[in-house]
Structures are given as C-alpha cells and as structure tokens.
Chain length 704, copies 2
Amino acid sequence: MVQQRFQRTPQLNGDDVDAKRKEIHAYFHTTLDRYERLFDTLRNENAYYKKPITLRHPLIFYLGHTATFFINKLILAGLIAERINPKMESMFAVGVDEMSWDDLDISHYEWPAVEAVYAYRNNMRNVVDKLIRDLPLTLPITWESPWWAILMGIEHERIHLETSSVLIRQHAIEYVQPSTAWEPCRKSGTAPQNKLITVAAGHVQVGKNKTEQEYYGWDNEYGCHSAEISTFQASQYLVSNQEFLAFVEANGYTTENYWEEEGRSWQKYAGARHPTFWIKQNSEWRLRLMTEEILMPWDWPVEVNYHEAKAFCNWKTTTSGQPVRLPTEDEWYRLYDTANLTEVLQNEPAVGNLHLDYYASSCPVNEFPQGEFYDIVGNVWQWTETPTYPFEGFDVYPYYDDFTTPTFDNQHNLIKGGSWIACGNESLKSARYAFRRHFFQHAGFRYVVTDTPATVQSSNYETDKLLSEYGEFHYGDVYFDVPNFPKTLAEIAIAAMADKPARTALDLGCASGRSTFELAHHFDHVTGIDFSARFIGQGVQLAEQGVLRYTLTDEGDLVSYKERTLKGLGLDSVKHKVAFYQGDACNLKSIFTAYDLILAANLIDRLYDPAKLLTSIHTRLNTGGLLMITSPYTWLTEHTKKEAWIGGFKRDGENLTTLDGLKEILGPHFKLIQGPQPVPFVIRETKRKFQHTLAETTIWEKIS
Amino acid sequence: MVQQRFQRTPQLNGDDVDAKRKEIHAYFHTTLDRYERLFDTLRNENAYYKKPITLRHPLIFYLGHTATFFINKLILAGLIAERINPKMESMFAVGVDEMSWDDLDISHYEWPAVEAVYAYRNNMRNVVDKLIRDLPLTLPITWESPWWAILMGIEHERIHLETSSVLIRQHAIEYVQPSTAWEPCRKSGTAPQNKLITVAAGHVQVGKNKTEQEYYGWDNEYGCHSAEISTFQASQYLVSNQEFLAFVEANGYTTENYWEEEGRSWQKYAGARHPTFWIKQNSEWRLRLMTEEILMPWDWPVEVNYHEAKAFCNWKTTTSGQPVRLPTEDEWYRLYDTANLTEVLQNEPAVGNLHLDYYASSCPVNEFPQGEFYDIVGNVWQWTETPTYPFEGFDVYPYYDDFTTPTFDNQHNLIKGGSWIACGNESLKSARYAFRRHFFQHAGFRYVVTDTPATVQSSNYETDKLLSEYGEFHYGDVYFDVPNFPKTLAEIAIAAMADKPARTALDLGCASGRSTFELAHHFDHVTGIDFSARFIGQGVQLAEQGVLRYTLTDEGDLVSYKERTLKGLGLDSVKHKVAFYQGDACNLKSIFTAYDLILAANLIDRLYDPAKLLTSIHTRLNTGGLLMITSPYTWLTEHTKKEAWIGGFKRDGENLTTLDGLKEILGPHFKLIQGPQPVPFVIRETKRKFQHTLAETTIWEKIS
C-alpha cells in the first residue's frame, strides 16, 4: 500500500495566487521525485542502457526526455532563453514512439552516463523552480498563460511515469528489482463470475471549453461532443485473467476468424499465444509485474492490447450468440455517468485503484465497486472501439502541435478509465489517451453486448495537398481581402435568378461543394457533381458529419490544422437540401436534368471535351433557366487536348478567345444576359504562397 | 511600258473628308482590279489549282485570300457583323507562308471554282464599298480609326500583288500567258562595269510616330531607331546578271567556304548551281520573267536569295581582298539619304523602276540614276544583312498581331528599296518587309565594302514561359496594386543603408536584374549574379541594348507582346554601374567580395546548399555592411534536398522555421536589424492567373 497520497493535478482557478504558486511548486517537485523513484527499480547501470523493447529507446532516454521536454517547451513559450545542454537536448528530444529500425540504429546514440543525466535533470529543476517562484501568476490559468507550458511539462512527466513503468515491466527480469516505493497488491483469489448489467439509454456530453476549465487538459479534450446512447449491457467486472483463460484455452489466439484483419496480422507477426505479461512456467501460469513475477492472480484484470480484447469479444459473440464488443468511448462515459463517479478528490482516496493511491499493480476486479459496476475507473485502462478523433472545435495547442494530431489516423484507439499508475490528468474522466491497437499498456477491457454498431468518428485530417488546398479554398479563410469564391458565385447566381423558379440547381464540377451548399439557401434542392470522388467526399462529410478537417502547409514540412463546421459557416440549416454525386460532366447521366440553374465553376478548362458538355447542356435546363460559367480559361494540354479547346488559339488566322468559343457554341440555345465579369479567387499553397486568379463569369439564359 | 500610273497610297491627313473618302474608294477598287488583272496571266483553269511551289498553296488560294482578309479584319474591327461565306473564309484565311507537308495535305482542301471565288470577291467588294461610302470619317486617319483596318486590307492586297507575281513567275511556263497589262521591259545590253562609291559617315534616324504619320504603315515601321553610320563604299549599281555570272563561273555555288553555314545547307538541299530564274538552254543562259522566258538580259539586276547574295560577297572578299558584304538596313537608309530621294509622288512618275510606273519586270541596272548611284529604290528589292527587329517602342497592331511578330526570330532578313511591282506602302522608304533568307522575291542586291561589321539588333521576343514571366515580374506591369517587387527591395535596402558607405553592392540571385539596376541609383557599382545565364541575359540585354521584349501568355496559345526599355524605367542613367555574371551562389568565386550590401532575394529556398552560402557570406561583406534576405521559404525537394533545408521542418521534435534557421546560422556574424517584414510580389502566368506571394524580408548587419 502506497503510504502518502500522490499530489493531484492542480485546479486552475482560485483566488489565492501565492497558494497556487506553492501548489504548483510542490506538484512539479513531487512529480519529478516520483518519476526518479521509478528508476530505483532498475537493478544496475546496464538496465538503463539495454532496450526493453527492440523498437524503443532504452530507459536512459526516458530519464532525460522529460527534462528536455521542459526546456524545449519553455523556450518555445519564451520563458527561458537558453538551452541547458544542447547536446543532451538534441538526444532526448524525440524518440518516444515506436520507431523504425533505421531511427534506432545504435550508432546514432552514445548515451550519457546516468549521473550526467541526473545532473542535467537537476539543472532543469533549478531553472523551472526559479521560474515557478518568479513568474507572474494570474488565475485562472488558461491556454494563453505561460504557466500552461509549465503544467504541460509536469503532466508530460506524469504520462511518462506510467509509460516508463510499462517499459520497466517489459524489461528482462534480471534488470529490475523490487522497491518499497513500488509495492504491488498482494491479494488474489478466485475470479468472480462476470455478468451483464443493463445500462439505460441516455445522453452523453463531453468536451472542454478553453476559457472555463478546472484542470489542465491536453488539446484533444477540448471542443464539444455529444451523443445519444442506446441502451446496452456491460460486463460488471473487467475481464479477469480467469475469464480470459477460457479464450486462450479455446485456442482463441490461433483461430483465425476470431481476429480482425489487422489483429490477425499482429498476432501472426508477434506469434502471440497468450497475453504478453503471462508466463507459462512448466504447466503453471504466472504474471509479470513491474519488478517481479508472481503466481497468476486469476481475479486480476487481464492485460491485453486492443486486438486481443477484440478477438475475445468475437469469440464470445460466437460462443454466446450475443453481439459482444468493446464499449465505445461514448458508452464508457455513459457507464461513468451511470455510476455517478466524480474526479479523484484532493483530500480523499480514489474510488478505484487509481493515482497510485493503493498499489503499484493491478488488484482483484471485485475490489472497487462503482455503482453496480466495478473498475469503471482504475485498476487497468480499458480499450474502447473508438479510434481517437477530434471533438468539434478541436484546436492544436501551439507549443505541442504533435501531441495529438499524429494519432488522428484511425489507427490509434482510445483507452479510458486509467490504471493504478494513472495520475494527474491521466486519472481524469476527460483524459483521452490513444495508442496503436497493438500496443501494450497496463490496459485490459470490459465488454458490452449491444446491437448498436460502434460508430467511428471521422478523425482524419485531410493531408493531401490538393484536397487540403481546396478545403481551405471553399471553406477557409479570406486572403488578400478576396471574398470566398464559391460563396460569391452562389450569390451572383441567386441574384441573377431574381424571381425565376428556383426548384433545382446543379453545381457541376462542384469540387469540395461550397457553392452547392450556398445555392441551397435559394433552391429547393441542389445537386453537386464532380469527377473526383475525393473532392465530393469533403462535401459529403460536411453534409453528414458537419465538420471538415485538414492540414495546411505553412513552410516546408510544417503544417497547421484547420477545422470548419457547417454550423460555423451558416450552412447547417440547408444540408438536407444538397446531394453529392460522382460524375463526368462530359458524360452525364440522363437523370441529371430539368434544372433551373446550372453552375459550371472553373470546369470547362479542365474537361477532356468541353464542347460535348456545352453543346448539350441546354437539354438539362428548363427554358428560361440560367447557365452560369466561370473560368480563368487556363487551358492545359494535360487536361484538354488542344483539338478540344474551345478557345485560346488562332482559328483561321484570327484570335479565338474562349468567350468567342462559348458564344459560338451556346448561341443557338442561349442568350448572354450577364457578364463577362471577372471574379477573383485565391488558393493558398503555403503560408506565403498563393494562386490569385480571375475567373471570367458569364450568365446565359436558355431561350430555346 | 505601263500606261496609267497606278494610284499611290493615300495621305492620312488633309481637310477634305469627302475627297479623302473618294480617294480611298478609288484606291480600294484600283487595287483589287489590278490584283485580279494579275490572274489574267494564268493560261487556264488548271493554272489556278496547280501549285507553283510544292510547299505553298496554288494561286486560287491567293485569289480568295485577300478578300477573306478584308472580311476577317473588318469583323475584328467591328465594322461588319457577319461573314459572307464562312466556308471559303475558313479555307482562305491562312496559308500564305511556306508550310510543312502536313499542313498542305491536299485532302484538306477542295478548292472552289474560280468563278465562285470571283463571285465571293465581288460580294466582299460590295460590302467594303458600302463601308467606304458610309463609314464616318475624320482626318487624320490613325491606328485607332476604323479606317485603319480598311487601309490595311488594301495594302495587304498590294503585298499579294507582288508575292503572287512571284508565284506566277515560279509557275510552270505552260500555265502562264502574256498580258498587255503586264508588259516587261524590252531593253537590255551589256552590263556596266560596277564600281564602288564612298558614302560619307552620317546619322540615320527612322521610325514612325503613331500620332503623326503621313501614310499607312505596318506595325514594324513604328517606334524609333537611330544610328551613326561610319563611312563605307557601296556599289554604284545593283549586281547585274553579268557581274554575278563571274561568281557562277568561278564555281561559286559549289565552293563551300564562300557560303555561310545556313546558306550552305540551303544550297545543298536545293541543289542550286545558279540563280533560280536563270535557265540554261543548250549553252545559252535565259531568264524567266513572269510570263515568258527571254534571252539573258545581262545588264538587268540578278535576282537571288540572301544566301546567294552573301556567298557572292564572300567570294568577292576572297578575290578582291576587300571586306565585301551586303549593306545593313541602316546603311541602306544612309544611301537613300545621300541620294536625296523622296517618296513616290502622287502625280509624278517614280524616280526608279517602281510602283508599276514603267515595266512588269526589271530593267537595266543603269537606267535609273539616283544621286551618284542607280536603283537605290526600284528595279528589284535589295537584301540587307539585317534580320528584322522591332524599333524601340514597337507595338503590335491589335487586329493583325501576327503580321510582324513571327518574323522577329533572327531568321528573316529585311529587303529594302522595292521592286518594279512594289506599290503603295511597299514603295515607301519606311517599308520593312522581311523574308526567310532562302526565299525568292523579285530581289537582288548591292554590295558594300567596309570594315564595320554588320550589327545584328536583338529581335527575339522571349517566348520561354519562365523567362517571359520573369521579364514581366521584373520590368512589367503592376497587378493587384502590388508594387514592383525587385524595385521595392532595392528601395528598402537603400533606406536601410542610410549613411553607410555605398560603394559596391551584390545582387545575388539577381534573375532578370531589376534590383541590380535599381540598387545602382545608390551604389557606385552593382554586381548581379545568377545561376541562370538565361536570366542574366535579360539584364545584360537591357544594359547593352536598352530594351527587353517578351510575349505574355494571355489565354491558351494566345499571347500579347511587351517591350520595356531602360529609359522608360528610369534606369538608363545607371546602366554603366551594373555588371552581370553567371555564378553559383553556393560556390561563388573569391573575387566577389568586399561589398557594402548583399541582397539575396528569393534565393535561399532555391539553392542546393543554402547553409554553405549563409555560413560564409560574412566573408564577402565589409564590416557594418548589410545582408538583405527575402524569401517565401517555399522549400521544394526538387531544388533543395530535405537534409539541406535550413528550416521548415521539425528538429528535435520542435518546429524550426526558416527564420529560426537563419538566426542560428547568421547569429555569429550578424545582427538582425530590420524585419521580418512581408513584401508581396505577383508573377503573372496568364491574363487571369497569377502567383501572389509574400516574401519574408530580413536585414542583417555584419558585426564581426
């Protein structure tokens, strides 16, 4: 039993500045102290330099890393001007994640001596200590406050307290030793029989507000998210080693159809036959803890990665005939709410095996009741079905822009609830840590039974350069004071429609779809068609999920992150009036007809046969309907063979402009009623480089 | 002898509008009448459809072409709204020039009947006749006047009067017949002994002013040009058939070293052994005229192309030991001025065999004395050494933008003086017709003896897209109200220099050189260095010739023509203070040192090793000197391998901007004294598409 309660993460508000300064001062030092105590479990020097896991750095790196992190972020925040030790700070800056073979080439690193790293840590402590003593402090502390960087450094250290404990647990046993500061639980017995408990349907609402917040939070906790959760059943206990053994013994690891495709690949690659911390010694199962191996505590939670947890659920679905899966993130919040849990209190022991309040290990799954359940928080982290994703309004914290964003790739699943060593921010309900699905942490799972599929939220930031540029072009910022182009076109079109019937409009070559939405302010229904399914994907995503995210190139490889919502654009109310289709403007299906308006924006000079479209487009318009064409007439042979250009060349010795060509082709069925007028647009390529173009706009009325 | 004097080109000014209208009316009809009379020399229908020259259209095309030209230009000028015969007008529009085999594929053309073409011509006559009667007329007629298009049509017809007469002369003899309207000269005798006459040094000044002009002129006659001509000797007579025979008999055609390289290629390709209109029948030389073959008139001027004339001069140089060549265009003007010639007068016969005033052929070289010389004008055109080029201030006449511009290619040499059939504009001193050097016209030559080399004026319009864009970027128009970028940079640099010594400046990566010139307003000497010899070529050309010309892409293949002069840019006075060198900024010669200012504009993100430059650049600056860097930091691996970027990536986990990188690298020797400030620039790609970029500008003072 850990004797003294480990200090909780500070509240950000309050009236007593001096007390808060002292609280943070203590929080800093106790966190560092505790982290350094973790390394007491290393048996010898060698233990610092031998890698516990082939693809990760040795522990000496992690000892230095959390100190370097402070220095780097404080420099970024402008709180300190000078590095302490540029060489160490270059070595210890990056390498936390699983790396490729090349990155870890040992010849790249000549790690410093352990003592030198402790000396470096102490130098860092002195710098930060002075800062905490002297830096002006106002409450509450917000994202904009310089103190945010200090809290971030401390919480970062707490994360590594846990992840380093996992690495130590993965270290060969001869490199570790017991420590009185890290006493595991000594209780174990027969595992309780698990059972399903029904959770009533309900609403969950999560997300933090940057201006009102109680505790430090990582960027991915901000924004807002709400969901309606259908009723579901959840297992009362976390899955115990006992319960999992049945799966192992049923040849679960080698039965292919229990495994998801990605999980199967992992299982084959790793050759896994049982949970990673299980050890079979003779015919006896034992369990590796951080510093020792013990007889298998069958009533402790099993620790597995997502793939193993998921395979267990699939096996259970097969054997039980019930739809078993992991909970989603939202279902976990529903469990939390149902159990009426609250955050770990400053002066109270945690209600679960959490925050080092009890053990330096797991404990039986039936020790900490929480409502009708056990271990909704604490003991081990719980895998969810949910690949992490940004809440609406997500924003990157500028001094740590790669904390979360690299995990928005549908390959990192959220774990919730915290483990026995989840401290500070990690222990909070709002914490949203995500790991690759094959990673090991002190993590297990609870299962649920429900017919509701686990919805996967869109998490990807569009990083394709062209698509990102178009996302910004259609939905992003204004540059050089040039108004949003697709919105302006829709406004011009709507003004030109005047009192004409406005039932249906076609946005042909809609790209990312902004005009499609904007036209829906005026028309009963608007169809957006583009040749590129990837482009219309942006419109579809906005219509379905209300949000579009993309990265923007700033300079070289540096990017920034953008999010746009239909609501923020004032288009939420019209989303039911639009539909997007993939289609070829030169070979359009016959159902796309009888429109009152057709907009062809920046389309004609990108078609392989513009004349084919233009000579027949009157058949798709109602008489009196309008055709609006805009184009910079940037003819390029890569898009349109020269023979197919409708202008921009000499014919019979005289200049034939594209406008001349349009007049010739459209003349038989149309009257030019407006334009040509130039409408400018700007496409951002980098923070400093833009395309600035004038599209010639003409509006044609169908007369026959 | 031609009986009635063929009407002269009208004067553009005057007081009597009705009389001018009548004069133009008559000029139109007499020109068309005379052109149609030319076709009386065709013996039969077949003569219209058989091609005289493989690579040119048959004469039926030329009969229709001049009529179509009227229609096309009058439509362009907005004077008529409708075509007369779209099909014919498509056939007859283009094809005047020598074509490639593919263009002339006979299957492309099904020529109309001769009668149909005459009917078409009559329809055109009626249209233009009505226009001339009704169109409001004010005097003087200028480029902007709609009447300019009418006069252009008439003068165009007069050009074809001559060129079609050449084609008829090249037609097989069985297709032609004599006509009383086209009576050749019947005089001939022994050629006079040619001799050299000294022409005193003198000044020539030519060029027309758009707002003050006496006669219609083609675009290439406008602008201004002056030159100082050294004394030279010129042959009293044009070279006669007799004089040229000596070259033929000296095996001149097959002696390689008499021929220029291009001429030699032509001679071999064509298998030429004597002038093209010479015919050897048995052992007797005969001469082909337009409609007949006659005994060689030895005292008539020989008719050759440039290559033959040049080979004769080279032979004569060899045999005489004197530097013999053709006159330049300027030397021809000097001859003209020396002889006190004037334009053909309205009511006087021409002073030479010109304007159809005398014969439908050449005549003896000693019939028309002009000052001490003969045939400075008239008889046959005279080849010059001068590839045609635009005078300073050249501008394209918008309704005929490909009259002259395609000849600015250093492959078309000017012919001067006019032939017996050079009428209207062709007969004027100012006429500047140019033909490919291997072409045949009614053209011969006079030679000069001088040590002064024939200077070739720059004629090329830069058509390379990148170079043209940079020409415009540095010296062209303002777009989006963004001030000229290289000029602005020079101004910022000069302001930053304040009272510092301003002896020498280096414009490193000077591209087309605008900043180099602009810095020379402040510095005693400015060196411009660029990796691209093609770019510095633009600066060099401006410094040496004072003018830069380029085409700009408007839309598709359509271009416009631009000219910029140092004088117009206010840079003429500093051109002696600049020098341009090709050089590699990453490997600069040691002589480029001891500068008071180094400007590196939009350079660092285009170098293969920017750090190499930046770590050593302090060695090239005087202490206290300034380094000014601007760049949009558009790092691209095609220019700079990622390992060589100095910013724009994450280093040790943190964003390293290029500015961060500059501070690190320059820190030891420089102090950042100004910036970063964004300076915008715009590069025009087409009439409607632009790059709009913000270059980050920093100024660094060398402190050690």
